[in-house]
């Protein structure tokens, strides 16, 4: 079944609204090619059926996947570099000073996709802290089982490692495995991946010192955003740090956070007594 004009139009408007990217008429084949695997995974016969099902039963997770499938082929490693610069320049030094040497620092990459964010953190910290592999543990979660499995595997295609991963880090932390690149075993052991739906009550996780929750909130309505921020705060240390996407904020959503400017970006910390 081919993509109907109505379905294409709906996808086009969605992508424009969420990403400001304009899908020109004539890109129907692209929509078809990128979304067909998603439709088939859900047991639907075609892309128009996928669009119909989301229109009838709105699901932010599916909407997010649609936008992702059409806007980015691959996640960048140092996507919006500021939250990573802040991690090594400010956040980690403070946490290392505040915690006992035998205390594990716990970092959460919520909505980890195929693992680039979690492994970026692992690489940075293994370069910055002499005992990072035993001192830090990184929890990577995603709604999609496929993404969780990809994160666990720690294998990336050539196109994926081309996306914003510094060449010096590629050669230090990855080895070739056929046509793919595999993360070093010591770094893979720092990362534990599991499934997690942020819009539902959270499984037992944490408590976290640092949370990366980037480019997730934009897909949800206000009450859901509030629910997510509230649940995240419950499993964070009182002096922990939250990083959101560049276009996201807690302001006007949840008053229990304090915004801190870090370099060119910002982070959020649980408000005292909240």
């Amino acid at each position: 079944m081919t993509l109907t004009a109505t379905s294409f139009d709906w996808v086009r408007q969605l992508v424009h609204r969420e990403s400001a990217i304009v899908l020109q008429p004539g890109k129907e084949y692209l929509v078809e090619a990128r979304l067909l695997p998603m439709a088939q995974q859900r047991g639907l016969s075609g892309v128009s059926e996928l669009v119909e099902s989301v229109r009838n039963r709105p699901d932010p997770a599916v909407t997010r996947r649609i936008v992702e499938a059409l806007t980015t082929n691959e996640t960048s490693w140092f996507r919006d570099g500021d939250p990573f610069t802040a991690l090594t320049s400010t956040v980690m030094p403070q946490l290392v000073a505040a915690r006992r040497p035998d205390e594990r620092l716990q970092i959460w990459s919520a909505a980890c996709s195929s693992g680039q964010e979690a492994y970026t953190i692992a690489m940075l910290l293994s370069d910055a802290l002499p005992n990072a592999t035993t001192r830090v543990s990184i929890t990577a979660t995603d709604l999609s089982r496929e993404m969780v499995e990809r994160t666990r595997a720690g294998r990336f295609s050539q196109l994926e490692v081309n996306r914003g991963l510094p060449a010096s880090m590629l050669v230090r932390h990855f080895t070739r495995a056929g046509n793919e690149w595999e993360i070093a075993p010591a770094l893979r052991r720092m990362v534990t991946a599991s499934e997690c739906n942020l819009a539902a009550p959270l499984p037992r996780l944490g408590p976290f010192d640092v949370v990366y929750l980037r480019n997730v909130l934009i897909y949800f309505d206000l009450p859901t955003k509030q629910g997510i921020l509230n649940r995240v705060r419950q499993i964070m240390r009182p002096d922990g740090w939250l990083f959101l996407g560049a276009a996201e904020t807690t302001l006007g959503v949840d008053d229990n956070w304090e915004r801190v400017v870090l370099g060119r970006g910002s982070a959020y910390r649980p408000k005292k007594g909240a």
Binding site: F78, G81, Q158, L159, N162, R163, P166, A167, V171
Partner: protein
């Protein structure tokens, strides 16, 4: 911003050049390492020094690795950022290029987004373009 795109394939020069122009670069081209050194020398007369060189590896006359070493040996071009853009993709080759003085390494094939990510890493993305 100025860029010199060095590749023996004019299709590849056009692809890389077009993406760089979209980011506001003024682009010159060379078909091999020797031609590229000539462009650099000629540019000096008009104070044209590139901010970035995108360098293919396998080229006739002078290959990309030799070009990197020649540029690094000349203090006049200390400010120029050198990025390999090549289909050579073994770890050993990447290490060799970095050791010779290349700052970054982009593996062919690549997308426009991948080139943009590298520019962002190198601090060569003009303001107003989001990383």
């Amino acid at each position: 911003m100025r860029a010199l795109v060095i590749d023996d394939s004019r299709a590849m020069r056009r692809i890389v050049g077009t993406i760089l122009k979209d980011f506001g670069f003024e682009v010159r081209e060379a078909g091999d390492g020797q031609q590229a050194l000539d462009v650099l020398q000629e540019g000096k007369a008009e104070s044209w020094v590139p901010d970035l060189c995108c360098i293919d590896w396998n080229m006739p006359v002078m290959d990309g690795l030799q070009f990197v070493m020649a540029v690094r040996a000349n203090p006049e071009f200390r400010q120029v950022t050198l990025m390999m853009v090549t289909t050579e993709s073994e770890t050993g080759q990447i290490v060799k290029a970095l050791a010779a003085g290349a700052h970054e390494y982009l593996i062919k094939p690549f997308t426009a987004d991948a080139l943009r990510d590298k520019l962002a890493l190198l601090g060569l993305l003009p303001e107003g373009v989001s990383a």
